[in-house]
Each structure stands twice: as C-alpha cells, then as structure tokens.
Amino acid sequence: MRLILFIFTLCIPFIGVAQQQKIRAIIQSDAQWYLRDEILDPSGEYFPNERLLGQGFALFTYTDGDFQAGMRYENYQNVMLGFPTGYRGEGITYRYARVRKENWDITVGNFYEQFGSGLIFRSYEERGLGLDNAMDGFRIITKLNGGIKIKGVLGRQRKYFTKSEGVVRGADIEWSANELIPALGKKGVFFSTGASFVSKFQRGFDPILNLPQNVGAFAFRTNLNFKGVNWGTEWAYKINDPSYDNGYIYRPGNGLVSTISYSKKGLGILASIKRIDNMSFRSDRNGQQFDLFINFLPPTSEPHTYALVALYPYATQINGEIGGQFEINYMVPRGSPLGGKYGTKLSINSALSNSIDKSVLADGTRGQKGTQGYISEYFKFGPTIYFRDLNGSISHKFSKKHKSQISFFRLKYNKTVLNDGVGDITLLENPGMDSVITINAIVLENQFKLSNGQTIRNELQWSIADGFRGDMAMALIEWTINHDLTLAVQDIYNYGHPTPSRRIHYPIVSLIHFNGPTRVQVGYGRQQQGVFCVGGVCRVVPPSNGLSISLTTSL
C-alpha cells in the first residue's frame, strides 16, 4: 500500500506537464524463442521447458527544475537463459526522488553511486549481466568551500525483487586542489585526493564462529595530472569479513590499483598495476555469483570485442590476484611512408594476471574457516597463471571509402579458474590440476563505403587453441543498407574442437532497424556456450538456438 501511495505521489506532478517535455521514458524489451537443437545440445539439458522467454523494463524520469523523480518497472516472463533466474515476475524495482539545490544533492529511494574507482563502494547496474545492486535508502552530496565534495550514503542493496538483509553506510570526501589554488591549473597541474569509508551491518549468528556484524572498509586515492601525464592510485583496506567467498577466513583484505597514462597528439601510453587480496565485499556474507557486491574491482585487461577472442574473457578474481596492463597507441603521421595519405594507427596491449602468494599459516593450514587464512608477501606472485594477453593491431585507411584493420592476439587462459570457477586455494592443495590454454588469433577487418551511401564491413577471424574449445574460424559480413537498416550474417566454425561431435557451425543472422530513438533487432541462430563479461564481472551463457527480438526506444 505504501508503495502504491509513493507511486501515486510521484505521478501527481506528471499530470498536466507532459506537454513540457519533462517526462522521459526508456523502454527495452527482449525475447527469445528457443528451438531444440540436437547437435548443439544433444541431451537437451539446456533446452528450457518454456519455449519463449522474455524480459524488459521501462524507466520513467520526471524532471522539474531542481527536482527529479523516477521509477523503473521490470518484467521477466520468464528471464532468458543465462541471466540469473532469481529474476522472476514483475514489479517496480527502482524509484527515487532527488533534489539538487545550491550545493546540496539529496536523493531518497533508489540510487547508484561510486566512491573513487569503486574498490570499496560501487552501486551500479549492468543489464547485460543481469547485475543490479542499486541502493535503497538515502544519499547526500554536498560541496564545501575550497573544492571539497562530500558524499554520504545509507541503505540496503537490491537482490532481484528483494533487498539485502545487510545495511550499507558510507561516506566519501574528495578535495580538488585546483578549486582552492587556481594557480595550479594555470601551470598545468591538476590534483585531487579523496578518502572513503564504508561499513556494512549484518546480523551474525553462528554456533561456532564469532562473526563480525559490522565490517568496515576504507580507501585513499589521489589523482595528479601534469602536462599530459595522469597518475591515479587508490588503496583500500577491509577488516575481517568472513564470508562464503573467502571460506570464512578472518584475514583482512586490501587492494591497490594504480594507473599512469600519458597522451599527446598521436600517442597514448597507459600502464597500470593491481593487487587484490581478499577483497570480496558484499552486504550479505553468504552472497554468491554477483549478488549484493558493495564494491567493484576494476579489471586491468582489455575487454575484447572480436567474437573468437571474446570467448576467453578475463574475470576479476575477488579472492586474490596480482597483475597489470600496458598499452601503447601510436598514430603514424599522415604523409609518412607507413602513414600514407590518411595515417596509420598502431596499437599494442598486454595484460597479465596471476594468483597472489598464499603461504600456509604457522600451524600448517591454509584457507581454513575461522583462521587468518594464509600469509601473503605483498608483491610476490602466486604459482597460478590466471591470464596473459598480448595483442596488437594495425589500422590503416587506404582511401575515403576503404579502411582495414589487422589484429593479432596471443592469450593464455586458465580454463580451470576462469571458466570452471575453481578457486586458487583448491589449486594450491591440488597442484598441477589446472588447465592453461594458449590461444593465438588473427582478425582482419575491412570496411567499404559504397557509392550509394551503403557500407559493407567484414571480419575474418581465426583462432588456434591447444585445448578447451580448440580451433575456430569465423566470417562476418555486415551490410548497412541505409541509415536505418543493417543486415549482418556471421558464422563461427569450431572445426578443431577436441570432441568431434562439437565441431559444428554457429551461424547467426541479424537485422537491425533504427527509427529515431527506436532500435529493433531481430536475430536468428546458434549461441555458443561461454562466459560473458562486463568490467571483469562475468556470467555463464548456455548454448542455445532460436529467434531473438530486441526493442529499445526512448520517449
């Protein structure tokens, strides 16, 4: 009843103001009709009982000067394969009212927020994953004199159509030196620093363990920019937080992310390092998958978009990882022998990720419930390779109507950890049981503009792997018929799969239509089993075959 009253209250201002264009709506609907495919899924174990699955949402936002309110209705009838099936049914999952006036910004209801890079707090939504850990409570943001900005949050996080039992409260302060000392900006120096504190409360009852009911975490960060060089670092610490993720150990967690980059015209360089140690932080200590994460551990690897390479994504290892990334982009000047008339872009990227050192405790145990878990030397690598990535590309525009890019990839992918989800403690107790796959791939992409305004884009991909999925080849052709219609046809042939019966084709045909803010996509084909990741957070995608329809529009 209170919810209905709340919605009604939100709707009152809508009456009579629709003509003032202050109401915005975003609507999305996806559905898939599943077909039985005895080649893709011989036993039918992935074939859903319900042939047609669909889901969608509508987000309404009302703005009137300093005031904003909104609500989102979601519907899962029923949730599509691969998404968390905790999404069942329908309802209003997000509603808020927000006032921004002078130096104040106050929100009640649901909100998304992030402190720094998110090491100890990030409330966000990623619809492609089915991840939504929106806060439900209140948020205050205020600006003080001298470049100080303060945020305070309090609430509980969303878990499908319910909320977490645990309460999250946090504060963040950030100081921008340039607002206090404007002379810095004149010298090209931009400096800011910040600190965050987040705590969760969850009742703790256990017949054996003394569980911490209040778990706090704090983080410090700085960012310095000077003449094209930008250096940002954040370090976080979390007190004892025994949980499902870490096997109920009482070791405090910590995390470090530091990135330095340099850019000038035609050149960009980026280097980053990251070390994560026991930094799973959820508002429910028994949470699994990506439910109720309070924090976000940013990835330090390049998210690949080419289909064959994207089948080997990297997922951040919340219980511990150490690694880094180095990337350089260089635009060979126009008119030079290599640059040609339009210039040539060169790119090299490398990333690595390993387990951290987890040595046994003085009593000879490791990872045991109710203990400190392990001992770890800060910069010492553990024995388990998680991921290696070395890739490069050359992109050249031959004429106004033709450009090409060729890319090379060499990956090392720990299938046991990244695909099968086996933890590093298990691997330490069973050394040599993990399977690290080496993948070499090459991609050639061409784009041609035709004289009638149409565009043809094609991709030829080839990957060779010494196990797991085996060798694959792919061809894609995308025809932009006009500005509102695109047809794409692709086929992946897994000709080198270790299991002969799985050496099959994965054809997909899709048609995309744009009409102003409306996008309609219809696709038909086979979906390969795999792991889909966004920002280092991943979900398992089951194999499927069928017709999919997607509609997105805004009003």
Binding site: K159, I208, V215
Partner: protein, 287 residues
C-alpha cells in the same frame, strides 16, 4: 546553512566510525558447543520428539562441483545438532548439474523432487531451504548460512512435536508410517503434512570441487519419493490449539532399487500460508 553542513558531516561521520567495525580477535566462540541430543526418546517402537527440530533441504546434483561443500555443511550440522536436524538432499534444479551421462549414469532426480524445486524456484545449485523460512522472497539460502539459521531456529520453543512409529514388511516391501503430532502453540493458518522417503549410503560418482570425478562418493539423505505428493495434504483448514493432536498413517511400497535399511521417513508439519515448517521429524523405514 554553512554550519549546518559541518554539523551533518560531524553527525554522520561519528555514526559511521563508532558503529562500523567489529574486529574479531578470537573467531571461535569460547563456549565450545557440545551437542547433547535430547531431541527425542524411544518409547516402545515409537519415537517421541521432545524438542524442536529443523529441516534443511539441500538442492543438489551429482554434476555440481560445489554441491559436496553443501553436503559437508550438512555433516557439520549433524555433528553439532544430531537428530535435531532433518537433512534432505533433493537432486533437482538445472539439468546440466543433475542430468545423466556416461560418467554420471545414475538418475537421482524424481518428479516430486523436481516439483518441489520448481515450487520454490530453485535456480542455482547448491541451494537450500532451512525450515522453508522466508518464503516467497528470500527463502533460498546458501549453505554457508545454514548453520546460523539452524542455530536460531533451534533456540526457539517447539510449536509441535511428533510421535512416529514405522512398520515395514520386507516381503511386500510395504512401509507404513504412523504419526501423531501434538501442537505446542496455537496455529491459525491451514496446516499441512508432507511426507517423504530418503535413502543414504548410496555409492555413485560425484563431481568434486576440484573438478575431479569421485567414483566412490557416498550420497546421503537422497530424496526418493513423496507418498503424499510434493507438498503433501491438508490436515486442518483452521490451524489448531495447544494440545490438539492430529493422527495419521501413510503407506508406501518401496521401490525394489531402494535399500530399505538405509531409508528413512521424513515428515513435515507446515503452515500452508507461508510454507514455514512448524516441525519436521524423521524415523527409519526399517525399524
């Protein structure tokens, strides 16, 4: 307005810092929990409950690599609480965890088990229900939460107590459960009885957490059938008062493939309005 900002900041910061960190120096509780099993007594051939019991339904699968961790959690509960715990391992849920193939040839799934999993919306394994609490929104509990919830439930006074008497004819493989349940608290909602048969000590392959296949894994508490159907039968539309007794008898012909000596009856009295189990009980099929 200027000072108000600082005042709010001060209040908020103080609240956070003084209430936000429980650093635990001694993870294990001092008063080591020593289980004393006084949950039931045997009078003649009849098991008579004297304390509250808790059912833990473990939705599991032989191709689910994390499911043995949940089974381990059940064993821990068993060592802590003895027969106050009624464990039930229901092989149901995603078919890629429960289906059969050459490596995992035994089909542990049942239609009734699937119906229970569907009713409670089980979407991932391992997953559990503890006393079927918190239905319909947050009833699915991960195994790391079971001990705490069980502990809390057992701390409550019993709301009903079973007396159970089993008979078994080994020639006809006919099993009979005679039950009597006495309410210890007033109940106002419809009361239902559900009855299941489970089997233990089954040796069959199981996928383990290290991705290895254990050929000689011992499956325990495997749900086999539900003589009254997956959700059972109504025994009282309007609940009942303290002291009120409901009696009944259930007969089941045991499948020839089941080892009668390793089978147990499981019986639940539950509140149909929210599916919360008021009291579970269990006794051997072959006394």
């Amino acid at each position: 307005m200027h000072y108000l900002k600082y005042f709010i900041l001060f209040i908020f910061s103080s609240y956070l810092f003084f209430n936000s960190c429980d650093v635990i120096d001694e993870p294990f509780k001092d008063n080591t929990f020593i289980p004393i099993d006084t949950s039931s007594t045997i009078i003649g051939d009849t098991l008579v409950q004297t304390e509250r019991a808790v059912i833990v339904e473990d939705f599991t699968g032989h191709r689910c690599k994390n499911c043995p961790k949940a089974s381990k959690a059940i064993r821990e509960l068993d060592s802590l609480f003895g027969s106050k715990i009624v464990p039930l391992a229901i092989h149901a849920g995603p078919s890629n965890f429960t289906g059969t193939n050459n490596d995992y040839p035994i089909d542990f799934t049942t239609q009734e088990g699937d119906d229970i999993a569907t009713h409670f919306g089980i979407f991932a394994l391992p997953m559990g229900l503890v006393q079927r609490l918190d239905y319909p929104n947050s009833h699915q509990k991960t195994y790391s939460a079971w001990s705490a919830l069980t502990f809390l439930e057992l701390a409550k006074s019993p709301e009903a107590l079973f007396s159970l008497n089993a008979e078994y004819d080994s020639l006809s493989r006919t099993a009979v459960l005679n039950y009597s349940v006495e309410l210890s608290s007033n109940q106002t909602n419809p009361l239902w009885i559900a009855v299941y048969i489970k089997e233990s000590e089954i040796i069959a392959p199981q996928l383990m957490p290290n991705n290895a296949r254990n050929e000689t894994y011992i499956h325990k508490n495997v749900f086999r059938n539900a003589p009254l159907g997956p959700l059972g039968n109504l025994i009282s539309q309007n609940g009942g008062e303290v002291g009120q007794i409901f009696n009944g008898s259930i007969t089941s012909n045991l499948d020839p493939l089941l080892n009668a000596k390793e089978c147990e009856w499981v019986i639940l009295l539950y509140d149909k309005s929210n599916y919360k189990v008021i009291q579970p009980g269990s006794t051997l099929v072959y006394p």
